[in-house]
Structures are given as C-alpha cells and as structure tokens.
C-alpha cells in the first residue's frame, strides 16, 4: 500500500503528457506486476524506469510516452497486457516482465507482432532463446550459477559444498543446477543436496543433514526470506559455515529478518551502487536517491537500464520500426549503462560483469567483480 501511495505521488510530480499534443511521440509500453505476489519487484522496476525517463524524456527529438499495464503477477493477465500495449497503445517497444514465467507468456505475442521487448529481470534462458525481438538487461541463471561456482572455488577456496534448493522456484532450481555442474567441473565436491519449498519456516532437518557432512560452504540460491531464516537457524544450531546465495537476497528485508545472523553472507548480484562506474549510472543513482529518498536497489537499476537500452536502440535505429530497433538492440556493444558496460551477446543475453556482495555490519558491502 505504501508503495502504491509513493507511486501515486511520483506520478503526480512527473509532468503528465498533455493530451492531444501535436507531436507524434515515442510510445514505450511497460507490463509489470504492480499488484499481486511480485508487486514489490514490479514497483521497484517501475520507479527505476520513471527516473530514467525523467533523465531522458526525449528520444529522436520526440517526447516519450510511457504506457503502463499491470499484470497482477499472473500469466493470463501478462499476455492480455502485452496484446493491449501493442494493439491499443501502439507502442514501439516494450519493457517487462519481472518474473520469467510471466515474461514467457508475453514474449511470444510481442514476437508475432514484431515489437522489441526487453525484460529487466527475467533470468530464465528460455525467455530470449530463439526469439528475434526478445531481450533482457540482466544476466541469465546459467551465468550467475557458474560465476558463483567460480567464486566459491577460486576465492573462497571451498572444496566441499552443500546445496539447499527452493524447489518451488524455477529461478532457484536453475541457479543451483548450474552451480553444481560448474563446481564439480572445477574439482569441487557436492556433499549434500536438500530441498525446501517457498514459505517453509523450519530448516533444522536439512541443517542437521548438512552438519553430518561437514561442508565448507552452503550454496542456497533462494529468495531473501528463506536465506535469512536459514542463516538464523544455522547460527542457532552452532554451524559457522559461510552461505553463498544469489541476487534474490539483495533486498533490505534480508537484513531485517536475518539480523546479525546474516553477517558474512555472500551473494552474486546484478548491481551495487558502489560498483557504479559510468557517468550515466552515477547520474541515475543521484536522481533516484533524491526522488525516492532510499538506496537504489538492483530492480530499480535494471528497470532504468532497460529504458536507457531501448532509448539507445531507438536512437541508433533512427526510426520506430520494430525490426530496426531489434537490430540496434542486437548490435549494442560496450554501452555504458547503469549496471556496467553492456554488450548484447548471443541469444540476446547481455554480457556484463557479475558482482559479489557480502553482508557486513548490517549493510550490503561490495566485495569483488567477476568477469563471466
């Protein structure tokens, strides 16, 4: 509710496009989960897009118009939203969705209509695989899982790892399986694999199994709530094994739920404000933090990134033709974005650096950057 209210306020503060303006304008569609289970993420991405829009409100000398359609975190609604943006709002490009499985409902529709679409955070490889018009601004599960394995082997020097997977989330299952593959390839040993379900509160059974196997690292690429609870229960049971997790941990709630127990937790991430090196990134961080009065997070950063990528592609294409914009997006090389220098790789997955962060003194501290 608070989030909705904030959005409401920002929407008032941002000058609305005068209705019936003479110039044609560039229409960019957004389909995001503004309500429902993934609302928190959708709203953060939206904030990021709004800030980026404020920084660059004109493309090709024309005013940009944003059209937002809520997906209610639901597949059927996501498909409807994309259809509506294309047919009714006649958008030139689409940003969204946040969740991979909902993006997979929307991307085929945009593909048929030949409208370029870019997702800020859909990490499942299938989202862009074999599609001409689908892109993403984040790295894929494949890359993140493998980089985590490299960090575990090379930096943490762990030989024996235990893995805890939230099997109700395809994101967690994907990360864990790529981690295990790479970890074994690099000479590590997976001593135990255990499963949990989103919403589980008690992990003592799994921790007891881990305790018997004596691992040097626990890889638990789950969302923040599960990660925070895991850390607390590990501490309660007297295990000091470090935890490594994925970008799902990078929300303030991890710290509020986990408290001192999450100190020393490592995770791979898309973004950290201290790792921002580009000029546009610094400008974005400043604009975001003065507009919302809170620290910039990865979701908002990736939302803004999507907007800048689309803007850049439209500028390079010099037209609003879907095919030309898609071609320009495909050809993006060394673009200085918010989350790093971006090159669009094969399968439309960006090639960019992965950051490793650590919880230190109740804050996310920047640890290192790893090249994929």
């Amino acid at each position: 509710m608070v989030g909705n209210f904030l959005l409401f306020l920002t929407a008032i503060l941002i000058p609305a496009t005068p209705a019936g303006a003479a110039e044609k304008g560039v229409k960019i569609g957004l389909y995001l989960p503004m309500t429902g289970a993934a609302a928190a993420m959708g709203q953060m991405v939206y904030e990021g897009v709004l800030v980026a829009y404020k920084l660059e409100p004109r493309i090709l000398g024309q005013k940009v118009e944003l059209a937002l359609a809520d997906t209610r975190s639901d597949k059927i609604d996501a498909a409807n939203a994309v259809s509506r943006l294309i047919e009714k709002d006649k958008v030139a490009a689409i940003i969204g969705e946040v969740i991979s499985s909902d993006t997979l409902a929307g991307a085929p529709i945009a593909e048929r209509a030949k409208i370029p679409n870019i997702s800020p955070t859909a990490t499942n490889p299938l989202v862009t695989q074999g599609r001409k018009y689908a892109f993403r601004a984040c790295f894929v599960d494949d890359l993140q899982g493998r980089v985590a394995a490299r960090f575990a082997r090379d930096t943490l020097k762990a030989r024996r790892a235990a893995v805890l997977i939230d099997q109700a989330q395809d994101y967690c299952v994907g990360l864990a399986s790529f981690f295990m593959e790479e970890f074994k390839r690099r000479g590590g040993e997976i001593v135990s694999v255990n499963y949990i379900q989103s919403g589980d509160q008690d992990f003592t059974a799994q921790i007891s199994v881990f305790k018997g196997k004596n691992p040097e690292l626990i890889y638990a690429p789950n969302y923040y709530a599960e990660s925070a609870l895991l850390a607390r229960q590990l501490q309660d049971l007297g295990m000091k094994t470090p935890i490594l997790t994925g970008d799902g941990a990078q929300v303030p709630e991890l710290l509020s739920i986990g408290g001192p127990a999450v100190e020393g937790m490592y995770f791979t991430a898309h973004f950290h404000r201290e790792g921002v090196a580009t000029e546009i990134g610094k400008k974005f961080v400043k604009a975001y933090e003065s507009a919302y009065n809170k620290e910039l997070d990865a979701f908002a950063a990736l939302g803004g990134e999507c907007y800048f990528l689309v803007a850049e592609a439209i500028k390079q294409a010099g037209s609003l033709d879907g095919g030309k914009i898609a071609q320009a997006l495909e050809g993006i090389r060394d673009f200085p974005g918010i989350t790093g220098i971006i090159t669009m790789g094969k399968d439309h997955n960006p090639i960019k650096l992965v950051m490793v962060l650590k919880v230190e003194k109740g804050k996310f501290a920047y640890q290192t950057t790893i090249k994929p």
């Binding site: 909705n4 809520d70 259809s83 109700a168």
Partner: protein, 347 residues
Amino acid sequence: MKKAWLNLAALAALALILGAAGQWANEYQVRLLNNMAIYITLAVGYNLINGVCGQLHLGPNAFITLGAYTAALLTLTPPEKAQLFFLTPLQWPLSEISLPFPLALLAGGVVAACFGVITGFPVFRVRGDYLAIITLGFGEVVRVLANNLQGLTNGPMGLKGLYPYTNLWWSWGVAAAAVVLVISLVNSSYGRAMRAIREDETAARAMGIDSFRLLMLAYVLSAFIFGVGGGLLAHLITTISPSLFTFFLTFNLLIIIVVGGLGSTTGAVMAAAVFTMAGEWLRVVEEPAVIGGINIPGVPGLRMVIFSLALLLAILFFRRGLLGRREFSWDACGRFLARLRNLKLET
C-alpha cells in the same frame, strides 16, 4: 420446433461473428474472445456440479491442471521436450509421443475425467463442508505434485514454448459444445434428479434417485470439461507452470458462477463473459487521464478495487446472482418483447 430454429440461428450468428472476428479483429480482441470462451467452458462445467447439483466442489484447479499438463505434454514434439526437461529427463513413453492438438485436448479431458472417477469415491462419501475441504485438498495435492514430479511436469519451471493452437474456432467450438451438453443434461430427467438432490437429498433418495451415481456423473463430466478447458488455456498462453493453477483459479470460477446465479447455466455464460471483459475494460481506471484539465495519474490495482466493489454490490442487490436459478430462454425473450410492445401501444 421454433426454439430449435432459434437456437440454430444463434449458433450460426456466433459462427458469423467468429468468422468476422477472425478476419478483422486485432490480436488483442481475439485474445480476449479466446479468454472469454475458455472461462465460459470452465464456468459451465463448474456450474454443473456446484450450482445444479449443489455440491460445494473446490477443486476445479486440480482438473484444469491435469488437462493442461496432459494436453501440453502431448502436443510438444520430442526435441522440444528434450530441450525443456534439461534437469530431469521426461519419463519414457511421454518423451517420444507427439499427438495432434484435437487428440491431445481429448486426452486432457479423459485424464481429468479418470482422476474424477478415482477421487469421486472418497469425495461423495461426505457432503457439505467436508466435501468442500476434501476437494480443496485434492486441488492442492495436484498442484504440489506438479511442482515435485520433475520427471513428468518439469517441476516449478513448467512447460514453455507451446504452439498457440487455441484459436477462435477451437475455443468457441468447445465452449458451445460444453454449453449445449450441459443444458441438455440439465433439462433431461438426469438434470431434474440432480436438482432434486440439490434441494433435498434425503427426499430425493426416498423417491428412488441413486444420488451417488448422479453426483458421480456430474462430477466426472465437469472434470472432463475442466480438462479440455485446461488444454485450451495451456495452448492459449503457451506456457504453464504450477503457479498458474493455485486456488485463485478456482476462486475466480466460483465468483463467476455465484454472480451468474448458482444453478443457471446461461447465467454462468453471461457472468464468465462479463468477468473476462471487465478485467480489461477496467484497465482504463489505472491509466493516467485528464478530466476537466486536472491530471489524474493512474493507480495500479484500482481495477481490482472497483471489481470487488462491483462484486459486493452484485451480491447485495442480486442475492442469488444475476439470473438466480432462472435461465435465459427464447420464451422469456418473447414475453419481454411483447411487454415492450404493449407499453408502446398504451402510451
């Protein structure tokens, strides 16, 4: 005889509209029409067991899941399946089979119906709240199984990249067939017996009605309809995962049949149509607008607020739903027209 002609004419009009929509409507409109038809199919099936027989069945999501997964697994080609199931390979016979869409839809219905037969025995040993809880349980069981049987369903990653077979002809053809089937069943002696069970089961049994057999018939038939509807839904959105089939799907259907009037098939059809369209029409309230020179920013989520208010009003003022237990009929239409004509004559 006249009514039969009118019914045929209505079907022909539907076919004409579909033909025109296929020709001139844009993809967004076609998608909404497809959604509408699928919800009509599901609501009509649900109304049979819940409205006509009066059994509070809360597990349609289980049957829709079964139908969707069965149909999807059968239409995917073996190479596509090998690509999807990269973590745990798909069980053997399924990994090699690929069927045309109509057969896969049918198979989805049959699998759902078989599950109906199996679960029907425990379900109809109880009535009322207990029946609701058992069916609710089955709904959850199927979803949890879909999440965990990775070698069969690909777990939480779901099935992706289905071919969009569902078009207007398939969705509306199935919807029309389901409506005709259910209406003729309800108007037959079976239907009358089902309604008797709804009003007073003990009295119905005293009259010699075999309530178990009839309830089972309705339950399995509705399961079949859910299965086919699930297959259509899967091939419309082209990606399914267990998160699509939560209790909320059942809840939406329950809203539809309650608003339409429990027990009224045509009421369920109308409510399903309104339900699917309203969700999209109300998007307007979430868009920024300029009214009288004042900028009104869009508020995401407002559409659900209005939706629930409308629902509240509908339940308050139409206690038994829009149609109650009445049905739309040509006779009623004729009477209505006659009344209009009389009014005109009087003035």
